[in-house]
Symmetry: C2
Subunit: 85 residues, 2 copies
Amino acid sequence: MSVVVVDVMPKPEILDAQGQAVADALTRLGVSGIAGVRQGKRFELQVDGPLDQTQRERIEQAAAQLLANPVIEQYEVHVSQDSLS
Amino acid sequence: MSVVVVDVMPKPEILDAQGQAVADALTRLGVSGIAGVRQGKRFELQVDGPLDQTQRERIEQAAAQLLANPVIEQYEVHVSQDSLS
């Protein structure tokens, strides 16, 4: 079993109202020094067996087409766990 | 500037309908071997200057109170970048 993580975050130039609300709330809760917060999505894909090259490429494509909106979001794909079983 | 990342994911025993929909869509898009997908949230907190112990503890508390719902979600806090400036 392999686990592939896709992190999707709003691009830096995009206004992130949710992140701003979280930043305000953190400051109210007494966390000092918060300069900003960005809120995004995290996907954990469980893949049967070890990850092959084709699967990795298809997941990269799917990240761009399905999981992220490349107009306003940036994404990062990384294998978090790669078992040999 | 330090960046603290808080990853919030649904607990394994909680039904994740969004993740299931993504798993189905990935399979339709031709990604083989997808055993399951979990969808969660990722927060990137930008903190001024280096992170001190108090800030770290407050962020841990805020993660449990504000960012995650501990009844249905689990979370992980890690410092992604810790500058000395």
